[in-house]
Amino acid sequence: MITRPGDKIFKALTVGSGVFVVAMIALIGIFLLIQAIPSLADNQANFLFGRDWDADPEGGLAFGVLDLLLVTVFSAVFALVIAMPISLGIALFLTQYAPRRLARPFAYLVDLLAAVPSIIYGLWGAYVLAPALAPISTWLNENLGFIPLFAEGSSNLAIGQTIFTAGIVLAVMLLPIITAISREVFDRTPPMQIEGALALGATKWEVVRTTVLPFGRAGYISASMLGLGRALGETIAVLIILSSTTSHFSFTLFDGGDTIASKIARAAQEFNDPRGAGAYIAAGLVLFVLTFVVNAFARSIVAGHKEYE
């Protein structure tokens, strides 16, 4: 093959872009860290284990991320618990049950869920779904309130701006993400296995249970982890739905509060003092590391299973 100056330049451009993208991830971590350090140095509370957030530079910074982190993880895990079985069902329906001709249009409908911007999920969640859920949450609270999960929280159940509502909305937002990847994996179940099971006289459900599910398990788990990463970082929907509160998170679904992302977004318009902003950037760094670990874990599961490639 002929190599000319143009080749060298073009190759350098593409390699440069690749290096640029790799550098970008490093830069995100580095710049957040640089901006966070001065505020962390001034911080009078324990950053990782403190539960109060006071980022007002007047009178000294005292911010701890633990409460925000707990709400973030709690609501994301709650969303995942709802979304995982439903996504599994949808993925099975689309790949194994739906008539071949309708599978694509059906899949397209589910993908539409991903096209809706999260701010609109937030508005719908806060103004339409939250009041509609009030009877359910009141019932849960009254009858199962002895379980800490359904105990009295800091948010008014009639208005419903609770982690319960936010988690359900997050779950809806996760469905298309988890479904899309699970669908691809289930679709690649070796036909020989399915035919084998059928030949042995298995029912449809037994075919799914004995071939499709074991084959797709790793991919499904990885898809769920990606969904979890997404739920941890979701900002605006949570910001709109959750009612802000000054009380501590008490591990009930009927609390209000803030996730790391929603706390940052709530304060963002007042980022004028670099030290105050630094506190939020430190929280952002925690979120970045958390989503990085979750996503890297998700990818490593798939990387361990070459048959999906």
């Binding site: 993208v21 790799v22 869920l113 911007p117 701010i119 719908w124 006289g201 990085f292 890297a296």
Partner: protein
């Protein structure tokens, strides 16, 4: 012959027992549950779309809605429109695309044509995966830390576009990479055989072959980033005036208008929020339709 003895051996008992009522019941139940989840997932979609349309559609029917801004109106006055926010949404999305697309396409070219299985290529693939999982608020904070605190740039629509670039690159890299992979190698080999240099083969033959798909991917990615709200909250101020300058001053966008007007809790604010929601959905739909239209009209026939 061993086959004879094999045949003489009694058949093994079947792995699955006769179809009995318990198995039939389980099978039915599974079918119902699986189909049920699908219906369950569509319920919020339908509910949400109906809500948004019912609450906001009347406002977008007014011609003023598309042509005027909210400048000079108080938060209690009906009237005006969201032209200023539509401009902002389109500006931010398009500026983002202008920056992100060349980088993303070059990265995809690197991965498919040059990188192969090298260590850098693996690192790039991993980074793109991680980048696609970076929360939009973190991307916004990064641009804030980089441009506004470190370089002293003012808050502006351009800063928003930069944050959106981070969110757009992984999406475009993924789609472009998939498309470049399905360009048949025969095309490349034919070009090389004629003495065409590799870079020209890529620029004049490989990329144009995949072009319709790439454009589809780009328009889908633009639709995605235009709905992002976290970056506009951190990186630009809201205004009711029309601002055509992405490098200076506040600039409204539909998501920012919605988060700001939401705080005026009266029926005027409500009208603006739901009207803007319908507008945003319409714009995103147009970009989505454009994407699938282009791919349908010009798609490369594979298999």
């Amino acid at each position: 012959m061993s086959t004879a003895t094999d045949l003489n051996r009694p058949a093994a008992p079947p792995a699955f027992q006769e179809i009995n009522s318990a198995r039939r019941f389980k099978n039915r139940l599974a079918t119902i549950l699986v189909a049920g989840t699908f219906v369950l997932a569509l319920a919020p979609l339908v509910w949400l779309l109906i809500t948004v349309l019912a609450k906001g559609f009347q406002y977008v029917l007014n011609a003023d809605w598309w042509q005027k801004s909210l400048a000079g109106l108080t938060s209690r006055q009906f009237g005006g429109g969201v032209y200023h926010a539509i401009i902002g949404t389109l500006f931010q999305g398009l500026i983002c695309a202008v920056i992100a697309v060349p980088i993303a396409v070059l990265v995809a070219v690197y991965l498919v044509e040059y990188g192969k299985r090298s260590r850098l290529a693996k690192a790039v693939t991993f980074t793109v995966d991680i980048l696609s999982g970076v929360p939009s608020i973190v991307a916004a904070l990064f641009i804030y830390a980089l441009c506004i605190t470190t370089f002293g740039m003012p808050r502006s629509a351009f800063a928003v576009s930069l944050a959106l670039v981070l969110l757009m690159i992984p999406v475009v890299v993924r789609t472009t990479e998939e498309l470049l992979k399905i360009v048949p190698d025969e095309l490349r080999e034919a070009a090389y055989a004629l003495g065409v240099p590799k870079w020209k083969t890529i620029v004049k033959i490989v990329i144009p072959t995949a072009m319709s798909g790439i454009i589809t991917g780009i328009s889908l990615a633009i639709a995605r980033v235009m709905g992002e709200t976290a970056p506009v909250l951190v990186l630009v101020g809201y205004t009711t005036f029309i601002n055509y300058d992405p490098f200076g001053g506040s600039m409204a966008s539909l998501p920012l208008l919605m988060t700001s007007e939401r705080l005026t809790t009266n029926e005027v604010g409500e009208a603006r929020v739901w009207g803007a929601a319908v507008t945003l959905i319409l714009i995103i739909t147009v970009f989505n339709l454009l994407g699938s239209l282009i791919s349908r009209l010009t798609s490369l026939k594979t298999k």
